[in-house]
Structures are given as structure tokens and as C-alpha cells.
């Protein structure tokens, strides 16, 4: 065996794995300034809206927890936009070419990107919802009940609110992979989350399949909402199923299209 052959073999033994792709995606995620800004906006929004909702809650028989977590609408928008931009900025900047020449197995790239984003988004989502909840309960009037995290339904509502933000962020990322254009992906997210319920579809049977309505009427509800029969865990499952399907489509398109 020649020297060159030995060098060649030593240098090229082995293969990149998921953990290599994940490490790359983690470095890329934490070196994007927009990530920190977006999470800060989500935090400020959840706390601000939580306080405002707390101050304005007057009905002692109302769902106080649900009111305080109203910031989830803004939070989900921020997370969705962030997820979409994490993916589409690869295309707008051309980074996707560097990424795919480094890791040519494209489904692995999307799996790593989605996993890293999911971990960060879940941690951040729980952080901002718990912060918003705790801030909101501090500003409640004495005349309304004060929900506490020691109550299982309250804890579930707050925890599912954070999980919801993570899933919506992942949905944005998947749509970014499918659409590849930042503004268009954001438009589709906004249409899916907010325009569809406003378009009168909310009162039809389709309403219980709309993410924002599932959020407000099921995930963060500590009292049953009349006419909305989806349980919190079923609701979370429906949204997770949307996310999984969109990610699968995104992965398939990423693998089959030219970069």
C-alpha cells in the first residue's frame, strides 16, 4: 500500500452521523441574532399580555388561567415566524448550499435542524409561558380566584401552552422547508393560524381542527368550553400531527428538489 493510499484511508474512514448534523445546526442557531431577539419579544409579549389580562380579569367564575395565557396568540406568531426564518434564511443567504455540501443526506439535515430547533423552542416556550403566567397571576384582583401551579389543570394548561409554541415554531420551520421563501412562509403561517378562524370557519365543524382555536378553547382551558369538545391532549395530538405531516412533506421536498 502506498503512502497516499494509507493517508487517504485514514482520513476518510467513518461517516457523518445525526450528531454531526445536529452540532452544525446548533452552532448555526445560536449564532443568529434574530433568534435571541425573537425569544425576547415572545417573553415580553407573554409577560405583558399576561399582566394586562390579569388586571382586566373581573369575572370570578371565568377561566382565569386561560385569560392570563392569552399572549399565546402573539407567542405562537413569533415562534412560527422564527421557525420559518430559521429555514428560509438558508435559502435567502445561500447557506443551504454550504449546508447540503457538508451533509448531503438531506432528510438528515432537516431532522437535525428540526430537532435542535424543537429542543430550543420547547425550553424557550415553557420559559415564556411560565413567566407570563406567574407575572399575570401577581396582578390579579383580590375578587377573582388565583390559580396556582399546584393545581393539576393549571399546570397542564401552562405546560401545554409552552409545548404549543414549540409545535407552532416547528410548523413554521416545516413550511419554510416547503415554501423556501421567508415572506411567503410567514404569510401562510398567519393565514393558517389567524385568518382561517376569522374567515367564519370558526363556527363550523372545522373550528375544532384550527390550531389557535384548539389553543384557546382546549390546551389552556381549565374549565370546559361549551361547544368545544376536543380534550387538551387530543388537541395537542392534532397539532403535533399537523407538524409531523408538514415536516415529512418538507423533508421529502428538500430531498427531491434541486438546492
Amino acid at each position: 500500500m502506498t503512502t497516499a493510499a494509507v493517508t487517504h484511508n485514514e482520513k476518510h474512514r467513518g461517516h457523518y452521523r445525526f450528531r454531526h448534523a445536529a452540532r452544525m445546526e446548533w452552532i448555526k442557531l445560536r449564532t443568529l441574532r434574530s433568534v435571541g431577539w425573537a425569544l425576547l419579544i415572545a417573553l415580553a409579549g407573554m409577560i405583558g399580555i399576561g399582566i394586562a389580562a390579569g388586571v382586566n380579569t373581573r369575572n370570578p367564575r371565568g377561566d382565569v388561567t386561560n385569560n392570563i395565557l392569552a399572549g399565546g396568540a402573539l407567542g405562537s406568531l413569533v415562534f412560527a415566524v422564527l421557525g420559518a426564518l430559521v429555514m428560509t434564511s438558508e435559502y435567502s443567504s445561500g447557506t443551504i448550499r454550504a449546508t447540503l455540501t457538508a451533509i448531503p443526506r438531506r432528510p438528515l439535515v432537516l431532522a437535525a435542524k428540526a430537532s435542535v430547533f424543537a429542543v430550543v423552542a420547547l425550553a424557550a416556550g415553557e420559559l415564556v409561558t411560565f413567566a407570563g403566567f406567574l407575572a399575570g397571576t401577581r396582578f390579579l384582583r383580590a375578587s377573582v380566584p388565583h390559580p396556582a401551579l399546584s393545581q393539576p389543570t393549571v399546570l397542564r394548561a401552562v405546560a401545554l401552552s409552552g409545548a404549543y409554541l414549540c409545535l407552532i415554531g416547528l410548523t413554521g420551520l416545516a413550511l419554510g422547508a416547503i415554501i423556501r421563501h421567508g415572506a411567503a412562509a410567514v404569510a401562510v403561517v398567519v393565514a393558517g393560524l389567524f385568518v382561517a378562524p376569522l374567515a367564519g370557519l370558526a363556527r363550523t365543524g372545522a373550528g375544532k381542527f384550527m390550531p389557535e382555536l384548539i389553543y384557546a378553547n382546549s390546551l389552556v382551558a381549565t374549565q370546559p368550553v361549551q361547544g368545544f369538545t376536543v380534550s387538551p391532549w387530543t388537541g395537542l395530538g392534532i397539532i403535533a400531527a399537523y407538524t409531523a405531516v408538514l415536516l415529512a412533506v418538507g423533508g421529502w421536498l428538500l430531498a427531491s428538489r434541486d438546492a
Binding site: T3, H8, T31, T101
Partner: protein, 264 residues
């Protein structure tokens, strides 16, 4: 494995190790975008040890071919083998192939160091190698700044730093001197020659025959996606009064081919 990344200059201490197992083999490569046949049954080899120029007018299919070599675009027909394997089968792609693509391939908000560190992590390349390539390309002083603020010359250097990151045996440069000042052009020219002299495969696309005359020894000439010549600079120069005349005669045939093919 770490030893492969030691050394401050791209010049290896090992005496000229030509490794023919690293060659690029392009066979019957064909790519169509809608009605446009961008690359048409293209076949050629790129051998190590010399700079091979990839020459053709704008829009002749050079970048498309480069993207297919790198697995970014999928050919409609035909194949590319690098050291006997397709790009997507490579175990550590950045350690085998380095590429500078024509367009920027980094996020403007990220620093040069962050961009290179992410790429290094993807292929198990030690972080110390990032500092080495930053030093080689003269970017160490600017490595912490937003890459979006880089001049064209600095952006090219970052692209070259990324290409050299894995100390690969195969290097692809797509129009590397575009928009560079004379000093930058000279630097890239010398770099490509030294990389080839170390026994690497160096494949450089350009639409500038004068630049290729100074850099390359072998030439692959294409026009309208087809192979026009697989030759050496010396052979091509001998065909006509000058290398430029010979190139224009070659590519004139594709211009005619295009004119007859158009509806007007």
C-alpha cells in the same frame, strides 16, 4: 486523523502525492430546466496534479455542472463519480471535496468564524482547523465580524476558507476571480497552482480565457451545455493565432448552433 489538519500553509509537507483515486469522472451528464437543455450529455475526467480549467461562455452550463458534481442538483441523466463514488455517498464530504460556489453561501448575520465552526462540526473537523484556514486566507482579523459586511474579496476568501476547511483532495472553484482586484486575482491564481502542485484535483470554472491561460494547464471547454474540447492550454493555443482566437472559434460554433435553434 487530526494530523491531516496540521500545518499552517496549504502546502503539505509530504512530497507530491498524486492520488489518481481522487479524480472526478463525469459521464453523460444531462440537465434540463423546463425547455432549456442546460447540460447536454457531458463527459470528461478531471485529473489530480494540475489545474483544470472549465471554460465556456456565460450560460454554457458550467455552474449547473458544478452543482451536479456537488450533489446540489440532480442530473436528469448521467453520473458524476469522485474517487469512484457519488457525492452523496461520501463519508466526510468536506474532507474529500471543497467547493467555492459562485454565489455567496453564508448568512450575512453570522461571523466568518461561526460559519466555519458550524461547517467544521458537521464533518468532525477540529476547531483548531478553523483558525488555520482563517489564517491562510488572511481573515483572522475579521473573523468575528458580521460576514454580511465583507467586501467581495473578503467574501471570496471566506468561501475559499470553507473549501479548504477539510483539507480536501478535490477542490472546485466556480468563477473564483469574478469581481476581485488584481491582488486578489493573483492570490487565488497562486493558491490554485500550489494546491494542484500538492497533488490535488483543482477544477476551476471561468468565462475568461485570459485568466485560464495564466492558471490552468488542462482545459475542458463547453458551449450550450456540450463538450467542445478536452485539451491542454498548449494544444488549444497551437490551433489558432492565439488561445483567445482558438477559444472564440470553438465557442462560435455553439453560438451558431443556438441561432439556428431559436425561433427567429
Amino acid at each position: 486523523m487530526v494530523s491531516a489538519f496540521r500545518g499552517q500553509s496549504p502546502v503539505r509537507s509530504v512530497v507530491c502525492m498524486i492520488d489518481v483515486t481522487q479524480m472526478i469522472e463525469v459521464r453523460g451528464l444531462t440537465k434540463r430546466y423546463g425547455r432549456v437543455l442546460a447540460v447536454d450529455a457531458l463527459s470528461f475526467d478531471v485529473m489530480p496534479g494540475v489545474v483544470t480549467g472549465f471554460l465556456g461562455p456565460n450560460g454554457s452550463g458550467k455552474s449547473t455542472t458544478m452543482r451536479m458534481i456537488l450533489g446540489l442538483d440532480t442530473p436528469d441523466r448521467g453520473s458524476v463519480r469522485i474517487g469512484g463514488r457519488g457525492y452523496r455517498e461520501l463519508g466526510w464530504p468536506l474532507r474529500e471535496v471543497g467547493a467555492l460556489l459562485e454565489a455567496r453561501a453564508f448568512h450575512p448575520g453570522r461571523s466568518a468564524r461561526a460559519h466555519l465552526t458550524a461547517l467544521a462540526a458537521s464533518n468532525g473537523i477540529p476547531a483548531s482547523r478553523v483558525e488555520e484556514v482563517l489564517g491562510m486566507t488572511g481573515l483572522r482579523g475579521a473573523a468575528g465580524r458580521r460576514a454580511g459586511a465583507f467586501s467581495l474579496g473578503m467574501a471570496q476568501r471566506l468561501g475559499i476558507a470553507a473549501a479548504l476547511l477539510g483539507d480536501p483532495g478535490v477542490l472546485l472553484f466556480d468563477e473564483p476571480v469574478n469581481g476581485l482586484d488584481p491582488e486578489g486575482v493573483r492570490w487565488i491564481r497562486d493558491l490554485m497552482k500550489s494546491l494542484a502542485a500538492e497533488g490535488r484535483v483543482v477544477f476551476v470554472s471561468s468565462h475568461l480565457i485570459s485568466e485560464m491561460a495564466l492558471t490552468a494547464s488542462r482545459l475542458i471547454v463547453i458551449g450550450a451545455g456540450r463538450l467542445l474540447a478536452d485539451t491542454t492550454v498548449a494544444e488549444l493555443s497551437a490551433r489558432s493565432a492565439s488561445l483567445e482566437d482558438a477559444f472564440l472559434e470553438l465557442t462560435a460554433s455553439t453560438a451558431e448552433y443556438r441561432a439556428t435553434g431559436s425561433p427567429s
